[in-house]
Amino acid sequence: MNSGISRRRFLTIGATAAGALVVGWRDANAQRKLPYLGARVEPQQLGAFVRIERDGRVVIGARGCEVGQGVKTSLPMLIADELDLDWSRVHVEQLPYGYVDGDAGAIDPFGNQGVAGDASPAAWDELRQAGAVARWLLVQAAAQQWNVGADQLHTQAGDVVANDGRRIDYGSVAALAATLDPPTNKLPLKPATLWRIIGKPTAAVDSRDIVMGRSDYANDAYLADALVAVMVRCPYLDGTLDQLDDAQTRAVPGVRKVIAVVGPKPDSPFDGVLAAGIAVLADNTWAALQGRKNLKITWKPAPGPVESSAGLATTANALLDVNRDGIVVRNDGDFAAALKKAPMKVSARYTLPFLAHATMEPPNALIHVQKGKVLLIAGLHDPDGASRLLHDITGVARDKIEIRMPRSGGDFGRRLHNDFVAEAALIAQSVDVPVRLLWLREDDLQHDFYRAFGVHEMQAGLDRHRKLTSWSQHCAATPRNYRDNSMRALPAYADCLDPGAFPAGVVANFEQTFFPVASRLPRGDWFGAEGFSAFAVQSFLDEVAQAAKLDPVALRMELLKPARVLHDGLDTGRLAAVLQLAADKIDWKRKRYNDHGLGIACHAADGAYVAHAFEISVQGNNLVFHRAICVADVGRVLNPLGLQAQLMGNTIQAISSALYLAITLKNGQVQQQNFLDYAPMHMSQAPREVETFTIESEADPINANAIIVASAAPALANAIYAATTVRVRKLPLMPELLRLL
C-alpha cells in the first residue's frame, strides 16, 4: 500500500529570498539532481510542507486530495502539533500534484497524494517528522542567537522559550534556522501526552471560504479564453456513433466546435474514456447546452447480448441454483458435512443493485493542452494516475504537466478514476485555448464506475446447543477486474467477497464461493467494497438469531468471545467493544412499543471497527428514525470533530442509498437520469441526529470512510424487521418493504 516508504525520502530545508524557513521532503532518488540534504535550494524545488515567514506567519502545505474526508485539515494538524504551533495562526495551502523526474524514475516530492496517503501509518510518521525537523532547526537557531545550549530551550505555541524565561517567536529566528544543517538522524516524536493539536476537535480549514461562496472547486476555476464543453455520450454500453447531424448545433450563437470522442473498444478495459460521445464547445455554458440540445445523433448498440437488470438477476440466481464451477474464496473445515448433521438450518438470498456515486459536484476538468505542456485543474483522488494518463494521451513529458487539485465536491470512490480527465484532454487537444469540460448530472448517473450488482446466498447450520457450526456465503456478482486494469492481477471476487471478513475464522466450517456475472457496465469502488457483502452477512446473522430464538447481539457476542486476533488480523475484542457500546447506547435490552423496532449490525475491515444501531418505525409510506447510533474504533483519532462528521455523514449516505437508491439497466442502457429517479435522502427523511461514539485506541490511524458505511444498511434492515416483522432481503429497502407490506 505504501510504495513510497521503500523509496526513502529525506527531509530538506531551504530559504526563500525573503528569509523564510522552508522544510520539505526530498526523495532519495532525487539526490543527484537536486542539491543534497541541507544545501541551499530554491524553495520551489522542494516539496514544501512548512514555510515560516519572518513575520511569524506559518503556512503548511496540504498534500492530500480534499474530497470532504477532511485531510486538508487533519494532515496539516500532524505537522503543526510536532512543530508546537498555535493552530489559530496556521494558514493551510493546498499543494499541487508533485512530480520530479529523477535518474531512477518518477519522484513524488510530497509523498503519496492519492487515497493511500489520506491516513496511513506512513503519512502519520512522515508528516510529524517534517514538523519535528522544522522545530529542531528553530530551536538550534535560537540557541545560537542567545548563545545557550539547545537543551536549555523548549517551544510553545510558535515561540522558542528559554529556561530563564526569555522568549522569541519562530519568525524572528526563521532566517537563521534556514542557514543551518538539518539533523542527520530521525528525530524522536512527541509522546501522545504532549499533543496539543492532534486529537483536539478542529474545524475544517476551508469552512469560511466555502460558506462565503469563495471556495474554488475545479468547476469554479478560471482560465482566460476557456471554452465550455458539454457532451452527449452513447447511452448503450460499448455502443458507437451511427450518424451525426450537427448543423443546427453549429448555428447556435456562441458554439465554436463539435468534436467526436471515440469510446472504448467493446469489452476492453476502461483505461481512458467511458463512452463514445460528441462534445459541443462554446463560449459559455448556456450556448454549449443549447448546442447539445440541437445535436441529432443516432447510436449503434455494441454487438452481443443486450443487458438488463432483470436478466442479470436471472443469471445470478441461476448460477447460485446450479452451484457449479464457482471460485472457492475460503474453505475451512467441512461445510457440507457439518450442515448435513446440523439439526437447525437457515438459508436466505439477498440482492443488491448497482449504485452510482452521484457526487454533488459532477465530474469536470479545466485543461489547457499546449505544445510541450499541459495545465490541468480538476477535483481528483488519483492525481498520479491523471498525470500518467495525460502523458499517454498528449505525449507531453510528465514534468511539464502541471496539475492543480482544488477541493472536490464529494468522491465516494468516483474520483479514483480519471476518465473525465482523458475526455477533457482528447477534446482540448483539438483547440488552442483552454477547455472546461462539464458533466451534467444526467451524464454522471449514466456513465459511472458503479458499485457491484449481485446476489448472496447464505446458509448456516446450528447444533443442538444453538451454536453456529457451519456458514456458507455464495455470491454471484458483476466483478470489477473484468474491465479494470488496476484490478487485473486480483481475483474476480476481490471487491465482492472478503475472505477475512467476520464471521470468517470464528465458525469452524466456513465456506465462501464466488460466481462471476458478466456485465459490460463499468464497475468501480463505492466506499470500498465493504457494504456489499456486509449487508448479506449482518442481515443473515439476525435471521439465524431469529430462527434459533437467540438475541441478535448475544449471538454475535458468542462468536466474538473470547477476545482474540484472528489469522486475518481481525481483533474480535475490538469488534465486540463497538457492538456492545452501540447496544448499550440504544438501550438494546429495553422492550420497545408503538411499533418501534431496534436493529443493530457491526463490521470490521482493514483495522477499523464500526457498529450501527437504529430505532425506527414505519408510518404509512415513511420510515421514521427515532434514534441513530454509530460507534467506531479507527485507531488514533486525529481530529474528533472531523471524525464525527465522517461517522454522521457516511451513516446518512449509507442509509440514503440503502433505502432509496438503485441504478438499473434496461435494453443495454442505464435508466436513471437525474435526482428525481435517483433521489437521495432529504433532510426530512434523515435522522435528526446521528449519535456518534468513538473508542480510541493507540493503533495507527485508519482511513475509515469505506468501513463506516458497511454496517448501516443491515442494521436498518434488521430494525425494519423488528418494527414490522417483514424481512427485506433486497436493496433498496423502501420500495421492497412497501411491496411486501
Binding site: 470532504g68 469552512s207 461562496g213 468547476n219 448556456w286 464529494g410 455523514g649 437521495p680 426530512s684
Partner: protein, 179 residues
Amino acid sequence: MQDNPARHSKPTPVPPVAASALEKTLPLRINGKNYFSDDDPAMPLLWYLRDMLRLTGTKYACGIGACGACTVLVDGKAQAACMVTLKQVTGHSITTIEGLAGNADLHPLQQAWIDEDVVLCGYCQTGQIMSAAALLQHDADPSDADIDKIANLCRCGSYPRIRRAIKRAAAASKPAKKK
C-alpha cells in the same frame, strides 16, 4: 446586522430603463448592484451568475431544480437559479451567497455554519445557506418540522449539522431583550 439585502422583504426597485433599451438589454439587480445584460434572455440565471459575473458560489449540480445547490434569493424567496431565465428575473432583486452578508463580514447563518463545522465536501452548502436564509426570513424561530421543509440535497450527509446551524443562527439573531 447591518444592511443585509436578504433581510429586506421589500424588493429593491430597479431603476427605470427606456423601453427601447429594454428590448436589447435586460436590467438586473444582483447583490444590490445594477447590471445590464445583452445575453440571451432565455439563459438561466445560474449560467449568467457563473459564466458572466463569475459569481461561482452558486453551484450547478442537477439543472432541473431538484437539488437546491444553485439556490438564490429572488425578492427574498428561495429560488433555484437553474430554473429561472434572465427575462424572468428582470425587475426583481436577486441575492446570491456572495451578497448574503451585505456589508457585514458574515451573515449569522454563515457564522453558525462555521461554528457547527457543517462543511464536509462543502459543495451544496452555499445553496443550503440560501435556503435557510429564506426560511429564517419567513420564520425567525423555525421548528424541526419547519427546517424539514428545506429540500436541498447533501450527498455527504451533513443534515444534522445543518439543522443545528440553523437553530444556532436563529438563536443568535433573536433580539437580545432583557439581559
